[in-house]
Symmetry: C2
Subunit: 281 residues, 2 copies
């Protein structure tokens, strides 16, 4: 599909992506760039890595597709650096969990670039981080959101969507603004609550921790995610997240009131609505 | 181990327990009682059911161990009915997720009984309910809490603990009071938050629901639990749960404030504490 693909960053997502591209045979050659030389050295022996490149600018040369898989708060900086030197027709995308800030920066950076940028957010990840947990099936069966900068970019959206679909993803197109709103409710809010639950229970007696069941393990699984990554996401989507929390608190206060007043029927129908929502996921 | 075991109720827990007892060969004969004749008729053809009995009182006769697996808000009533007619040395236990109310009722009911009661809370379950989801491995690898009524009952605690351990459970002893407190934080609070999250998101646009990832699926899995069961649990452990929610809200307000003020380091260490808690589970 592509002759040359460059992946910037070789953490969990970057390395998994390289593995998946190799598995689906979507690139003749995969080039990896990473900030640290030691990281690159550990890539070159891997089946999913054909070339390594220490220089960010050089890593992009003659690539047909470049995918930024670095920490979310470094994506905008990288876009600014590589947009001006991109070859004609080169497509740039990213895997960041936040889209509005990134697409805003990209819009300015690509105003005079020969390449094109389409934002992506493949909703794949793990509570584990790092190359050693890389998984060629990480993307398969998951959702991916793509966001375009400009209504003119229909063809590029198709190429990028097709790429994610070939990795087994279901692709949805949302504007950067709507992405950040939707994701604040459907991804960042759950993480916020999960981490808050974990932090809160950490203060309880050790012997109580023995009795945790699968329910607690599931609700707190994502709290095991990289705190540095999630700090960046929270800060980059701060206003939407605070608004989502505030809306969610309305539901919290509703059920608290029902419970205080022992409103049998109200509690039942509240829980039933929640059950029905979950069944449809 | 036991000659005759009676299981009261043949829902997910009762039927799974019968299967597990058969698998581990812990009873010569398993007798099932259920409220509805049709339910009993569907049990008798199963390998894990040797006898069925429609009459609650008769179902207990000559049993060495009786386990109440009915909905949690019916357990106290059943204890009151069967305590007076129990044979010398018969042990009664239950699987209710709440222990204080149940043990209080049992204490009075067993003051003049020839049998003995030890409360149990095997922390096994599923978001699915009903006999058709019964699983002989439901208890294996999970925690179980046992609560005694009286400090004299050491020997009975040992027999009941041994029984759960033979089903693969790790057994911990807590007083009914401490059980309800601990469980309000480690089980009921997670369910409360999970259901509230699910209920809150149910009001969002349908197209946003497509983009839910594994994080949301995990954090809301338990919200798919039987709303009738969870309504009962919430009402029976209401004061502890409301207190747990209140304590948890302190953590919520803490992280909200850090986020509002973009307190980089504070957010990071909050998330890191949560991560470390989860890693130890």
């Amino acid at each position: 599909m592509f002759n040359q693909v460059t992946i910037l960053g070789s953490g969990l997502l970057g390395a998994s992506l390289a593995k998946a591209i190799r598995k689906e045979n979507l690139a003749n050659s995969i080039r990896i760039w990473a900030r640290r030389k030691a990281t690159l050295d550990s890539c070159i022996s891997e089946k999913w890595c054909d070339q390594i490149e220490e220089d960010l600018i050089k890593s992009v040369y003659k690539s047909n597709l470049v995918i930024i898989c670095t920490p979310v708060d470094s994506i905008a900086e990288i876009i600014k650096k590589i947009a001006p030197i991109m070859d004609q027709g080169t497509l740039l995308t990213d895997v960041g969990s936040v889209k509005e800030v990134i697409c805003q920066v990209a819009k300015e950076a690509f105003a005079h670039s020969r390449g094109k940028f389409i934002g992506s957010h493949p909703m794949a990840g793990s509570e584990k981080s790092g190359m050693k947990f890389a998984d060629e099936n990480l993307f398969s069966g998951r959702s991916c959101i793509v966001s375009k900068l400009d209504d003119q970019d229909k063809q590029e959206v198709e190429v990028i969507s097709d790429f994610w679909e070939k990795l087994g993803m279901s692709v949805y197109e949302l504007s950067p603004y709507e992405h950040d709103q939707a994701i604040s409710f459907f991804s960042h809010l759950p993480h916020f609550l999960s981490s808050t639950l974990a932090k809160s229970l950490d203060q309880k007696p050790d012997k109580w921790k023995n009795i945790s069941g699968m329910g607690l393990k599931d609700t707190t699984r994502i709290a095991e995610g990289d705190p540095e990554l999630w700090k960046q996401i929270f800060l980059m989507n701060k206003n939407n997240i605070l608004q989502a929390v505030e809306e969610w608190e309305k539901s919290l206060n509703e059920i608290k009131l029902y419970l205080k007043d022992s409103k049998n029927e109200k509690i039942y129908s509240f829980l039933k609505d929640g059950m029905n929502f979950r069944k449809k996921l």
